[in-house]
Symmetry: C2
Subunit: 259 residues, 2 copies
């Protein structure tokens, strides 16, 4: 990434020349890391090995130092690892979760492997006010609470906290929650398809306990999804708080300028 | 959150009773924290002060210890703070970024404040292969590279790395990039609206340099958005890599079961 022609707005005031150079290299390493990350996530290195540093430097017109710093960034994210005598290899796979259609985890990851759910907790609880309000049940009425650690081919992906109105929840209690999406079960129980869901996504640092459950380092970045799902007739039936391991899930979709 | 009626799947094998109790309390604290987080983010505490711990305990049928632990989780996320003599107050505001329509940052946050852009770098670079391919320009052809630190009312929100084909980029060079979304400028330059964008969202831990630029702690959770935006006629014109501070942005939208 040649900088000669770039108009660059740093280095003013008290910034020293050395600090300015460090900043430029860090900026270029980030640029390069973002491009390589895209390649890693989209299977751009089919044999799982990145080109040698010198080749990357030539391809991206970057110095060896910048290439190394970019690879360090991807390594810190857990995406690649350096193997002596082999080079830099892709070690983490992130699975794409669709943002275009309302789908359960097993549905959306069907091509990638088998989703299994460890049921950590299940049973009725008196609905706290914000749950009752959103599920449109009387405050304090029982709702079914389900807590699941969800895995893909045995690897922890997400920790899901779910609230369902008890008339539907009772039927869920007898269902195969270990191997079936709640979405699919709700459609089977009600005999109608789901309609829409309001979702909110955030990036948060995992607290110690959530990190331990997800087998991730404390403070690991987590993609947090809050989702209120309605049946086709508009009734809200499923309120979920989902913590996805940031290193294992991406969310992809299409946005349109006009609707 | 009463646990008596809950069928709970922990505590088997070598787990001690004390460890089991700790886990139950941590689980309940997370449940409560998620409900309170929703209230905090959606303005559920209009005067910015949370109810006293005893009131929260009564409302949510939780012990004082669970309430404290839940508030600790929100404090660790930087959402609330405990003020002696006052109680627990909301200290961080997260701004909602729409996931339903393709919008620039200033457009989407118009009601919340003034977006300004610090141009860290701007100028032509030879397009690396993955950029050239996605913007459909010949490999090595010049594209305009722009790096912006974006602020809302002075507060750092995101670090954006942008690539634009040079025929449009040249016009951008003379534009008011400090105060205008690139989206709006591209529509003005081309005389046509934007069409759609392919997006990918991830949660990552900020590297040291990105954290410093965003004035966030090292390792802070960042919502990373990769976005390839096309004009209405289908031409790809804007490839962006955006790091949003996780503690300042949420992404909200509506998903449908069928399309």
């Amino acid at each position: 990434m040649p900088a000669e022609r770039i108009r660059d707005h740093a280095g003013q005031g008290a910034t020293t020349v050395a600090a300015h150079r460090r900043r430029l290299r860090a900026d270029r390493a980030r640029q390069l890391a973002d491009l390589l990350r895209h390649q890693v996530l989209t299977g751009g290195f089919p044999d799982g090995t990145l080109p040698h540093e010198a080749a990357l430097g030539a391809d991206y017109r970057a110095t060896r130092g910048t290439v190394r710093q970019a690879l360090d960034l991807l390594r810190a994210e857990g995406l690649v690892e350096r193997l002596p005598g082999v080079g830099t290899v892709v070690v983490a796979q992130k699975y794409p979760h669709g943002l275009d259609r309302l789908m359960g985890l097993a549905e959306t990851l069907r091509e990638h492997g088998q989703v299994s759910n460890e049921i950590r907790t299940v049973g009725p609880v008196a609905a706290p006010a914000p749950v009752a309000e959103r599920l449109r049940v009387p405050p304090g009425a029982d709702v079914l609470y389900i807590e699941r650690l969800r895995r893909l081919d045995g690897l922890p992906l997400s920790l899901d906290l779910t609230y369902v109105p008890l008339d539907l929840g009772t039927a869920l209690l007898g269902a195969d929650l270990e191997n079936t999406d709640v979405f699919r079960l709700l459609e089977a129980i009600t005999g109608q398809p789901l309609g829409h869901a309001e979702i909110t996504l955030e990036a948060v640092n995992a607290d110690a306990h959530s990190a331990a459950v997800l087998q991730a380092p404390r403070g690991a970045a987590v993609l947090m999804l809050e989702r209120l799902t309605h049946l086709a007739d508009g009734r809200p039936v499923d309120l979920e708080f989902i913590r996805f391991r940031g290193d294992r899930i991406t969310m992809s979709g299409l946005l349109h300028r006009s609707r």
